[in-house]
């Protein structure tokens, strides 16, 4: 019974919870979740990432811990630490699969049950930030996650989009989801915003430009910044490297660092 009280639960030691959402798939939710965690770590924070994408869990590989297993302790599941200092910890269905190519072919109710467990039964300990990475859409995973997190009063949600209208169209719906579920929107990130050719420095707007910023203006939510396409970022994610540490001169770095700073500022405002 005691574990049902927010003060005694596994989330009791988590100072700030934020969700990374998008109506659209493939826009960079997991990427932004990962880079945000790395940036916050570099600011001295302890960060956890809860990956509730049950069909396409991307987070483990982005930290090069895809082969790790999850262990149990008295208070539940021990999250996977990505480093010796235990500054970043993760939970994902990716760690629970017997084989990495196993498909999780579950209907809603089974997904909902696991998400409830993920929210309640991971022994996070003391964290400054818990980032919840989600799959695209506005369905079971999202409804269940927001419901389960409600007692813990999340800081809010970051919405990720790419610049083109087709993406923005889906993210508008995600904004409605946030409104309807009472989830505060911390801001919108426009990802894949332009590509600067490493050979000649010509900028090409492969996925158009500006849609995210316009949407933020139209919806009256903060615009957190535009992140350009950066092959070094893609490569880092492939190899599970710390992009923030290793490539501070790369084109995506300034925008990613700025996003983290705004989150830090927002969180400390809320604390005071």
């Amino acid at each position: 019974l005691l574990s049902f009280l927010p003060e005694r639960s596994n989330l009791a030691g988590v100072r700030h919870i934020l969700l990374v959402l998008s109506g659209k798939g493939g826009v960079g939710k997991s990427t932004i979740s990962t880079e945000l965690a790395l940036s916050l770590r570099h600011s001295g924070k302890k960060v956890g990432i809860l990956d509730v994408d049950l069909c396409g869990p991307s987070i483990p590989r982005m930290f090069k811990v895809q082969d790790n297993d999850v262990h149990q302790c008295d208070s539940g599941w021990v999250p996977v630490f990505v480093d010796q200092e235990k500054s970043i910890s993760l939970m994902s269905i990716g760690f629970l699969l017997e084989k990495p190519d196993d498909a999780v072919v579950w209907r809603g109710p089974k997904k909902n049950a696991l998400i409830k467990q993920f929210v309640a039964d991971v022994a996070w300990g003391e964290l400054d930030f818990l980032i919840v990475d989600t799959p695209p859409g506005t369905s079971d995973e999202h409804i269940s996650t927001v419901e389960a997190l409600r007692p813990y009063k999340p800081l809010g949600a970051i919405l990720v989009t790419t610049p083109q209208a087709v993406s923005v169209g889906d993210v508008r719906r995600e904004l409605t989801f946030c409104k309807k579920t009472g989830l505060r929107v911390l801001g919108i990130v426009e990802n894949m915003s332009g590509f600067v050719c490493p050979h000649c420095s010509e900028c090409t707007n492969i996925f158009s430009k500006g849609g995210g910023e316009e949407l933020a203006k139209h919806a009256g939510v903060p615009f957190l910044g535009s992140v350009p396409l950066d092959p070094q970022l893609s490569q880092s994610l492939e190899e599970g490297r710390d992009f923030i540490q290793e490539f501070p001169k790369s084109s995506a770095y300034p925008a990613l660092a700025h996003i983290a700073q705004q989150i830090l500022d927002g969180a400390s405002q809320r604390s005071s």
Binding site: R107, G108, V166, R173, C200
Partner: protein, 278 residues
Amino acid sequence: AEAAALRERLRCVKHTVLVLSGKGGVGKSTFSALLAHGLAADETKQVALLDIDICGPSIPKMMGLEGEQVHQSGSGWSPVYVEENLGVMSVGFLLSSPDDAVIWRGPKKNGLIKQFLRDVDWGEIDYLIVDTPPGTSDEHLSIVQYLGTLHIDGAVIITTPQEVSLQDVRKEINFCHKVKLPIIGVVENMSGFVCPKCKNESQIFPPTTGGAEKMCQNLNVSLLGKVPLDPQIGKSCDRGQSFLSEAPESPATSSYRNIIQRIQEYCDLHHFQEEKII
């Protein structure tokens, strides 16, 4: 009896192709739209495009049909026609505002997919293309269940070159094996970018583990083709125009056309084999 009603409605469909991916944002809807345009270029063929992405329906915008609504008649729901021989159905047509969110759990989504199959008056169709959301969940199970794998020619699986996508796509391939859905092949999208100024190529989404080519070799699946990034693709999609018509000279267009042809050939062969069995 419900299954029978569905089968009855779908009796007039010659070929059904599912467009899948474990991964989001790799170009399923883009490909579905272009496949539909490509097949409908033959005016003697009747093509239907069904969008079962209930939360993020991209097809109406990509086909230039944003704002259109569905009409009911005695014979059921009318698809929205782009051309005389190309009809489209999507939850997008049932929403009154672009801000409307469909915040539904699985069972309700399944119900709508069933309605799409049972109540839409497609008429006689040569090709039914089904665009899906990413993943291996309710929508995917339901469409395979309702259509029945015997009535689906096969699945086209879309990926991008990097491992982050491939790891999800392998799951999708396993899903297909699990439900006994034949795989027509894999399309590697966003396969390299040629700078329009200096013509040098960049691998924006690097194939660090060998890309779709290696994956297809390992899993014994056909690689239908590789499509490079072209900024015009996104622009055409946003404007609801066919990229194939707007940029006929683009290398991406020739890639898409080759892939579409291979899919057509597969379907013709499949039909031929079915006829032999009968």
